[in-house]
Amino acid sequence: MKHVRPPMTAWPVPVWLVPGLAVLVVVVVAAAGSAPAAVAVVANPPEPVSTEQDDPHAVLLLEVAQRASSRVAYAGVQYVSAWCKSGSASQVVDVTHVPGTGSLVAVHGTPATAGSAVFTAEDATEDGPDAAAEDGPVTLLARNYHLVVVGHDAVAGRSAFVVEARKAGGAVAARLWLDQDSGLALRREVFDSTGAITKASSFVDLTIGHARLAERLPTSMPDAWSDRVPVSAVGTLSSAGWTTPGVLAPRFQLSDVRRLTTDGDTILHLTYTDGLSAISVFQQRGHLDAHRLDGFRPTSVSGAEVYARDGIPYRATWSADGVVYTVVGDAPDDVVQAVIAGLPHEQATTGVMSRLSRGADRVASWFNPFS
């Protein structure tokens, strides 16, 4: 049998260089992967903020409503509904508010006991989440949305102004019914980017000016998060390695910063709001142990790998660069997910190439006298 050998092609480089090239390939892979370990995921293009001139009457009504929520005594029955991708939740509750004392919310028709009622004590000296914050909820509403008074309506037998918060382009983000006498918000509706309603609440019965709390109140949660950091001083937190962006997704502005120290560990709680909804970002040093998460499943949010639990509120957690991030939001899901995407995330850790890149990067760092 005749053996036919394939023609031998000329080797473009000396053979003894090949092992070196192999190492070079690894180093090049490392260079390609030498981006910062934690990166912000590119999210979908944010919706533009409305630049139309607000209706001054609408702004005034909302400012009155903001003050009335803490300064007006009232008692009534209210329904609350919220929708998310996986379903909805509704509840009819008895609400009692005494200025300077607090608010009691109990499942309608049940005694105010733990498990069916929540009492939130009110600090009379405070007027909002962060008194030092430049922008209150109404200011943020006015900045992010086009506010207009669209008419009158009746809620729970009371006359109300109807105010709409509109996005750029005219889509309605929220509709508010504000009591003509007291200024209280009697009804609220919030919509997502598709125009679908995501949460609604309305009084079905309301008495203003006469409110009395039950003699036995459920235990109020101790104010463990009382270590407040002025929003204007978050630069010190950033210097200490915490992530404290001023604005997220893109209307949500940082409005409150608190710290909780327990067992020597510090947990940071940042609250962002656009005036309609709130999104919390918790941070704690460490890496995520996902085995003990209940009901959370791995999810990709705009390319970021997180453990998320759909529901009301939407919750997601992950770790990046030595910090465990947890986001809790009652804004529409798409907005919460945009906030998640805007926070730091590890590069993909499951791919072979990313792992090779990371390994080569580490090897290269061993030989780098400046690293």
């Binding site: 031998m8 090239l21 709680h269 460490g286 890496h287 009301i312 580490r362 090897v363």
Partner: protein, 192 residues
Amino acid sequence: MTHLGDRISAFVDGELDHDARDRVLSHLAQCRDCRSAAEEQRRLKVSVAAAAAPGPSDALIRSLISMSEPGEPTPRERRPLTAGGRRMPSVAQRPATAPSGRKEVRGPGRVAPRRRVVYVAAAGAFSVSAVAFAAAFAIGEPAQQGPALTPPLDSYTYQHAQMSGQIVGDPAYTAVIAGFTIPSSIAGTPSR
């Protein structure tokens, strides 16, 4: 009379010094047995020195070469026996340069030394690459910074609900998203 014994071997091998050799020679002059033994050992030494050192067989050499070459092994050589029973020169014994002037004679399964170097170098490069990638893969395991912990999600949710209620001014919605339940642990317990 005492015979020479082991000293005969040392004498034949030339390992004795001058005095010892004189004493041995004196004894040999008188002792026939020792003289015969010395002559016998000398003959044996000469015959061993004249014999060729044994080498590996041709078949063994071909097998070893085929193991180091790519491609299929060198085919077995046919029995090159002539009618007279003499064996033909083996492949290893053939001249490397043909009489016609060609540089090398290429048989099936054989490669030129230069190409063999290339193959060996390529195999070495492949091995080094494999080791490098395997090492990078092993070292590239995601590093975990800090302690492992599971966030206290109930506590976080409650805290979020409280802040949301203060910001949005809707205590009823706060109660709903908090689930009317105050978490038993404020900060939760890290899984350490």
